[in-house]
């Protein structure tokens, strides 16, 4: 059985929950220096060489959770970093960072001969190699890495299957090739290419890639002055994130118990976006441009801007649902911090760049805050959510959701193509660049399957996707929930 939650994930969540607990209790700077020790109790480590290494990794993870890359901390105590975090406000800088202490510097050789090599007489591996890169040394085939072009033909030719292609998991996960080994073979992120999609974070089996969090800042708002308590903005994919037994109303109630003054569904912003984007489409396509792309997925927007700059003119100028809702909430809830809660890491970058959203939490980080605050969502009373968004808007987080919504508004000559996953987005953008998209609207989502498959989720998209669509499809049930 494929496990969704690994020991690495568990340890990370424990670390976040402990961080949230001390931050919510107002004891962040007093206690944070003890967390690595506390989290690796009794010298038990499952995934590293020894407890000291595990503590070093946890320390770096906590630094990132405080909003600082380990390199920005120069070995200072966590309490110092925590003070800086509280003084500085929500994290700045790149969203995704490599934890150097955790990176195992996986081999960079792409083709590896294993012990199964029998040094047979035929040497098919040598025969098929177009670059004469296979040498037979000491009774075994070796790959001359200087000549090897990693075509993989030798792997296919070996009758023992003794030659295998190996790829670093982070590199394999990155569709835009933004991760490469640095001079020390550690993973390094090229910021000019990275789209903040977060695929590498989940792909690294050493848990060596993470993202900056705003946990302590949000904890500060939640426990701070009453007129500065934050407003929660729940991404459409929130349904079922705290388990099948926690209803949307209960989740909202848990947020209120945590200290949020109000809870809004970002789907309400999606309704604004749909109206605006439909109007934009009718005005621009095909008169001004042959096609237009969606703009709600920030990783997709990065992909267009960084990798297809000539297509940037085709990006919809409509704000993303999160930003559209935030702009509206600014009027209704002046002076209150707005916290977007969703499955997405790229939203952290979008929020910081826009200045409209004050902080972004992933569902995982929200879970840690709830645990740290001692709030059990499953034990909450059921209440109704405000601003009732349309069913289509509530389905925005599944691949095809945006395109479908526009179809209902436009009809007629509207045609749409949906790209699901960063690699598919690249493919469709290449077609578009060549004038062969074959549709007037391109919906791009960096996570294959849509937002409910994002890197910051708590349940697999296969489970939450249907839950979200179910919730969207029968809003009457939801409206029936009353306080």
């Amino acid at each position: 059985m494929k496990r969704y939650i690994t020991e690495i994930t568990r340890l990370k969540r424990r670390a976040y929950a402990e961080l949230a607990r001390i931050a919510l209790a107002g004891r962040l700077t007093e206690e944070i220096d003890y967390l690595p020790q506390r989290l690796v109790k009794d010298g038990i480590t499952i995934s590293r060489c020894c407890e000291h290494k595990e503590r070093a990794v946890i320390t770096d993870r906590l630094r990132l959770a405080l909003g600082f890359a380990p390199e920005e901390c120069g070995g200072e105590r966590l309490s110092h970093t925590a003070r800086r975090a509280l003084a500085k406000g929500t994290p700045a800088g790149p969203v995704i960072e490599v934890l150097g202490s955790a990176c195992d510097r996986c081999p960079i050789d792409k083709i590896v001969v294993t012990n199964a090599c029998r040094n047979c007489s035929a040497h098919h591996c040598r025969a098929v190699c177009p670059r004469e890169a296979i040498d037979i040394i000491a009774g075994r085939a070796y790959v001359n890495q200087e000549r090897c072009v990693a075509c993989g033909q030798c792997a296919g030719a070996c009758p023992f299957g003794a030659i295998i292609p190996v790829e670093r998991p982070c590199e394999a996960a990155c569709a835009v090739k933004a991760i490469t080994p640095d001079v020390n073979q550690r993973a390094s992120i090229n910021r000019d290419k990275c789209t903040n999609c977060g695929a590498c974070v989940g792909a690294c089996p050493f848990g060596a890639i993470g993202d900056r969090t705003a946990l302590v800042q949000v904890a500060g708002w939640l426990t701070g002055e009453a007129d500065k308590r934050p407003v929660a903005m729940l991404a459409p994919s929130f349904v079922g994130q705290l388990g099948p037994e926690v209803s949307p109303g209960q989740l909202a109630q848990a947020l209120i118990a945590l200290g949020f003054v109000a809870v809004s569904e970002v789907a309400a912003g999606a309704d604004l976006v749909a109206a605006h984007e439909a109007e934009e489409y009718a005005r621009r396509v095909p008169q001004e441009t042959p096609f237009m792309t969606s703009s709600c997925c920030p990783a997709f927007v990065h992909l267009v801007k960084k990798h297809f700059p000539r297509l940037e003119v085709h990006l919809s100028r409509t704000l993303s649902p999160a930003l559209a809702l935030a702009a509206e909430l600014r009027q209704v809830q002046p002076g209150r911090p707005l916290v977007f809660i969703g499955p997405c890491l790229a939203k952290k970058g979008e929020a910081a760049a826009s200045g409209l959203v004050d902080a972004v939490l992933t569902f995982e980080e929200l879970g840690a805050l709830l645990v740290g605050g001692g709030i059990n969502a499953a034990a909450q009373a059921k209440v109704a959510l405000g601003n009732e968004p349309s069913p289509e808007a509530r389905g925005f987080g599944v691949s095809g959701g945006v395109a479908r919504t526009l179809a209902e508004r436009l009809g007629g000559s509207y045609t749409a193509a949906c790209a699901s996953g960063l690699a598919d987005c690249q493919k469709k953008l290449r077609l578009a660049a060549a004038g062969r998209l074959g549709a007037g609207f391109l919906e791009g989502m960096a996570c294959a399957g849509g937002c409910c498959f994002g890197p910051g989720v708590l349940v697999p998209g296969e489970v939450s996707g249907p839950a979200m669509e179910n919730f969207a499809g029968i809003p009457s049930v939801h409206r029936g929930e009353t306080a």
């Binding site: 059985m1 388990g243 037994e245 926690v246 879970g367 840690a368 969502a377 499953a378």
Partner: protein, 85 residues
């Protein structure tokens, strides 16, 4: 009708973060012979949050349950309980 083994999954937020959804998935994927002898239910909290994910099977608490060992545990319990169910 044959009585079923009642397996209560803790739906509490802490257990959820520690992998209760994996347990639920494992329960739903039990081989048919075993699955039909088990009834899945939920409870809001089993009061052992620091040892999650937790299960309660016929009144007994199980901590840090490994989804891969779950079929084994349930088979053993069904054998042990036998007629007492």
């Amino acid at each position: 009708m044959e009585k079923k083994l009642v397996v209560e999954v803790c739906a509490g937020t802490t257990c959820h973060l520690m992998g209760a959804s994996d347990l639920l998935l494992a329960l739903k994927r039990l081989e048919p012979g075993l699955r039909e002898r088990v009834r899945i239910s939920f409870c809001a909290c089993l009061g052992e949050c620091s040892h999650g994910p937790n299960l309660r099977v016929s009144g007994n608490l199980y901590h840090r349950v490994d989804p891969e060992l779950l079929p084994l545990l349930l088979t053993r319990l069904l054998d042990e309980l036998g007629d007492e169910l």
